[in-house]
Structures are given as C-alpha cells and as structure tokens.
C-alpha cells in the first residue's frame, strides 16, 4: 500500500511539476480532474502573491515570461518557506542568474533585486530592543537603523524601471523603515557615498570611518570631500538611516578630511 508520505510527495509534485504526471495521479483515489483542481488553486495563490510582490518586474517581463519564471521556480525549487510572503524573495533568488544575463533588459536583475529588497524590508520587525542614539556626534559611534538593507546597482531602477540609463559606477541602494512609520524608504548613494556608508557602519566613529575612506582612496581631505560628506551624513540622519551616535568613545578627531565629493545620488 502507498504510504502517507508517498501520497503527500506525489501530491506535491502534481502541484509543482511543469506538467502533472500520470503516475502521481494514479496514486490518488477519485477523479483526477478533482485533484487537478487543487493544482490550479495552489498555483493561483502563489502566482498572485509573486505578481503582487514584484509588480514592476512582472510588467517589464510581460505576463508570459514572468509566469514562466514562476513555473520554473515551482518545478525546480518549490516554496521552502512557511511564510507565503517570502516566496517573492525565493522566486527572485531562483530566477536571478537567468535575469542577470538578459541582454535585452540589462536592468532587469537590478529591478527584481530592488523590488525583492523592498518587499523584504517592508516585513522586517523593528527590534524590541531598538538601539538608542544620542544626537549626531562626529566622534561618536554610528548607530545604524536596524532595518537598513542595501544592494549595489548599475541602474537607477528606483527612479525609472522601464528604461533607466546605466550609471557611472556601481551605486548603493539603501532600503529601510523609519521609526514609527510602516513605509519603506529608499536612499541611493554614489560610489564614494557607498564607501562612506560601509565605513561608518563598521567603524567606532564617523570620524574614523571618514579616515578609512580617505586612506583607502589615498586622498587628502579637501573642501569638496568635506562638503559632500557633510551633506551625505546630514541626509542619512534626516532619513533615519543613521539614528545618531552612541556615547562617544575616547577617540581623536578625524583631522581634516580630504578627497572628492561623496554624495547621495538623487
């Protein structure tokens, strides 16, 4: 007799294979058309969730290609998460290698990753032990918003998802929630801004982070760099990407910064 686990595996294949197999249907009793109705119901719910989560990616690809990508994901990977919202991210992870090679739509992969990141950040939990920050102190330790997630892009897909122009250098997209708000926000940095962001989130102080970036670029601090950095930092605090500073560690001043202007990419 067929075991319960075998029946459940057959049923799962019926729902997720590109085409249901007669051998699997034969394991189940009753009219096959009734079991195939379950296949339609299961797939319909999942397709709807993924279309909702990636509306621009779906529109860019068109329904035929987008639905084919979902079918491939279901057949080759299948949902490995109990949270139905996360199938959106699983689809992107599965389809990305192919989408990244799409020469006709060179920004497709950036767009899909951006939409998937927004979807993920929108569901993030604000920690119950939220970090406490004092007002911004350049000598203080940066306190990063715990919901900030980032990705690197070659196209400004947050501005123009249909046909964005290629950027000069990889830009950093930051996606986050703000305290007390359920909206998801996006902030984009040029390459130098991205370097500062990385340095700040890993450094003992904003000043130390700035020094690291200057050293890495073998530059001396000049007015352009300082102005750009000040603007970026003010923006990031205003946007709640950095929530401020923790109590200042015993550290020396950054000294006069140097290089070219880091900045947001608006």
């Amino acid at each position: 007799m067929t075991s319960l686990a075998e029946v459940q595996r057959a049923f799962t294949r019926i729902c997720f294979d590109h085409e249901p197999q007669a051998a699997d249907l034969a394991l189940l009793h009753d009219d096959a058309s009734r079991w195939l109705m379950y296949r339609r119901m299961v797939r319909s719910r999942l397709f709807k969730m993924m279309r909702n989560g990636l509306p621009k990616t779906a529109a860019l690809l068109g329904p035929t290609r987008f639905d084919a990508a979902i079918s491939d994901y279901l057949a080759e990977h299948a949902p490995q998460t109990r949270f139905i919202r996360e199938v959106v991210n699983e689809l992107v992870d599965h389809a990305l290698p192919g989408w990244a090679q799409d020469e006709a739509l060179p920004h497709l992969a950036d767009l899909a990753r951006y939409e998937a990141l927004k979807w993920r950040v929108g569901a993030l939990e604000w920690p119950t032990t939220a970090p406490v920050a004092d007002e911004l102190d350049f000598e203080g330790r940066p306190v990063l918003n715990p919901t900030v997630r980032d990705l690197t892009v070659r196209f400004r897909v947050d501005k123009d998802w249909r046909s964005p122009s290629r950027l000069d250098g990889a830009h950093r997209v930051l996606v986050h929630q703000k305290p007390g708000s359920n909206r998801v926000y996006t902030y984009v940095l040029n390459p130098m801004g991205g370097q500062l962001f990385d340095a700040w989130r890993e450094s003992e102080s904003f000043a130390e982070g700035a020094r690291h970036v200057l050293a890495a670029n073998e530059r001396a601090p000049d007015a352009r760099f300082i102005d750009g950095m000040a603007g970026v930092l003010a923006d990031m605090v205003e946007q709640s990407i950095f929530l401020g500073s923790a109590r200042a560690p015993a550290s020396q001043s950054a000294g006069p910064p140097d290089p070219s202007a880091p900045g947001p990419d608006r």
Partner: protein
C-alpha cells in the same frame, strides 16, 4: 498596554478575523459587534511594519485567538523547532488559551504548498496526526485544536470505509485534542459529497469543541461549492450554526472573511445576525440542560 496588563480578556460570543484589509476600519469603528478577533500567526511571527502595529492595537481592545495556516497537523514532516519557539512567544504574548491549525497536510520535506490538502481517511493518517499534535502541544505549551477542512476530491479509502466524521472522531480520540469546528466546511462538504450535515454534527463530542468557524462560499456553475471565505454567509450555514450551537452550547464563533472584502458595515450586519443566532441557540441549549422541576422532598 497588553492583554496581560489589563483584565484578562476572554473570547466569547462572536468574533471577526483581523485581516490586513479590514484592520483600519475595525480599529476606527471599534464596533460592539466584534467581541474578539482571530489572527493567523504566520502573519505576525518575526514581522514588523503594519502587522506588528495592528497586533498591538488589537491587544488593547480584544481577546485574540490564534489560528495557524502552516503547521497542518497531517504533515509527515516534523516541525521546525525554531518556528515553534517563535510561535510560542507569540501565543504567550497574546495569552492564547489554545492554538488551532488544520486537519490536513500543507507540504512535506520542507516544501510548502500554501494550501490545505486533504488527508486520506486512514489509520496511518490518524497515527500521524496524533504524533504531530503531541509534538506541537509539547512545543507550544498549550492545547492544540484541529480544524475540519473542506475538500474537493474524495479522500476516503475503500479499505477503511471511513467517512469524514468517522475519520475526525478517530483523530480526536487518538490525539486527545480539541476541535475547531468549521460549520461552513461541513456544509460545503455535505453538498459536494452528498451527505446530511446534521447527523455529522450530532456525532461531534461537544466537550472537545473550543471554537467554531463560519464563512461564505462560492457556488460554481457546475454546482460545485468552493470554500472561498469571500462571500456572505448563506442561509444554510446560518441554520446549521444554529443547530450546532443549540447542541454544543456556548462556544466562540468566528466569521472568516479572507477576500473580496465588503465595507465593514456589511460584515457587522453578518456579525449581528450571528449574535442573534448565538443568543437564541445557547439559551435553548441551557434550557435543555436545566434540571426538570421535581416535587419537594418530604420527610
């Protein structure tokens, strides 16, 4: 303020599912028709944003009962310990007296179908459910209630000869668990598989029923009925609820509405009617249990 900080809230009478599309209107109106709410834990575990806010707001107003979607007790795969721990944290937070999930399977070997698939009505299914329920009760530290599902293909197996109520009673006995009795699902199954729902209800052990679901469904052109939770409750389900409550007695009744959402006003109308039925049927139940008048004892 959490439920624990306040007087303990009890789910009593008629409640409504706290769904994202309805939540704002429910909070704004805070209507008397909503006695308590039900949540799907999968929407709140490890999740922030609007859902986390809505949970906090709901805790200030109502008793909350949890109803899971993904721990289907018919799965042959053991549960993920990390999720069960997270779930227990949520159940503690809302002070849940029990946890309900479906008498079905929803995946296997770490793959999830995100739907409720019927179990074969077999002894192997019964044994498996009993194991899963015991595992789950241990993990969450509170009783588990299983919910009877609607199904569209016949899961009965010729070698056993069990019909749906036979299977359900075997499960309740073997797992020694509670029952979330979905009256709409019995109604839908009765029409789709051509049986009389009242004898089914008559066989339900009342002492195991901790909650009742009612909902609307869709009738297709070919006569098949689909349990959509996206339509108003039909007369047949109202009647069957009345019959059920009169037999079983006071039990929290939830209106499930999961799609095709009308204005809240319409749902409040359904809740009012459910409350009227609830009051009549539970009063009749109490009257039927009252001791008959007896002559005074004489020395």
């Amino acid at each position: 303020m959490s439920a624990k900080a306040d007087t303990k809230r009890i789910a009593e009478g008629v409640g409504l599912g706290l769904r994202h599309d309805l939540a704002e209107a429910m909070f704004e109106r805070d209507p008397a028709e909503i006695g308590w709410v039900e949540i799907h834990p999968e929407n709140y575990v490890a999740r922030g944003g609007t859902f986390a806010d809505n949970l906090e707001r709901a805790l200030e107003r109502w008793a909350i009962l949890p109803h899971g979607l993904s721990l289907c007790v018919g799965t042959t795969t053991r549960y993920e310990a990390s999720y069960v721990r997270q779930l227990r944290g949520l159940l503690d937070k809302i002070d849940a007296p029990f946890y309900s999930d479906h008498l079905c399977f929803g995946g296997i070997d770490g793959t999830y179908l995100h739907d409720l698939l019927p179990l074969p009505f077999t002894k192997e299914s019964v044994r498996n459910v009993a194991e899963r329920v015991a595992e789950l009760q241990d993990g969450i530290g509170r009783p588990v209630a299983v919910e009877n599902i609607s199904y569209y293909a016949d899961p009965s197996m010729p070698e056993h000869g069990w019909a749906e109520p036979d299977f359900l009673l075997e499960v309740l006995d073997a797992a020694d668990c509670k029952l979330l009795l979905d009256v709409n699902n019995i109604y839908v199954n009765a029409l789709n598989h051509r049986f009389d729902p009242r004898p089914y209800i008559d066989r339900i052990p009342a002492e195991r029923v901790v909650q009742i679901h009612v909902a609307g469904h869709l009738t297709k052109k070919d006569g098949q009925i689909i349990d959509t939770h996206g339509e108003p409750i039909c007369e047949g389900v109202y009647d069957l609820l009345d019959y059920t409550l009169e037999r079983i007695g006071p039990t929290p009744v939830l209106l499930e509405r999961d799609g095709n959402f009308p204005p809240l006003e319409e749902l409040l109308g359904e809740l009012s009617r459910l409350r009227t039925i609830y009051d009549r049927a539970t009063a009749a139940h109490a009257a039927s249990r009252a001791p008959a008048p007896a002559s005074e004892a004489r020395p």
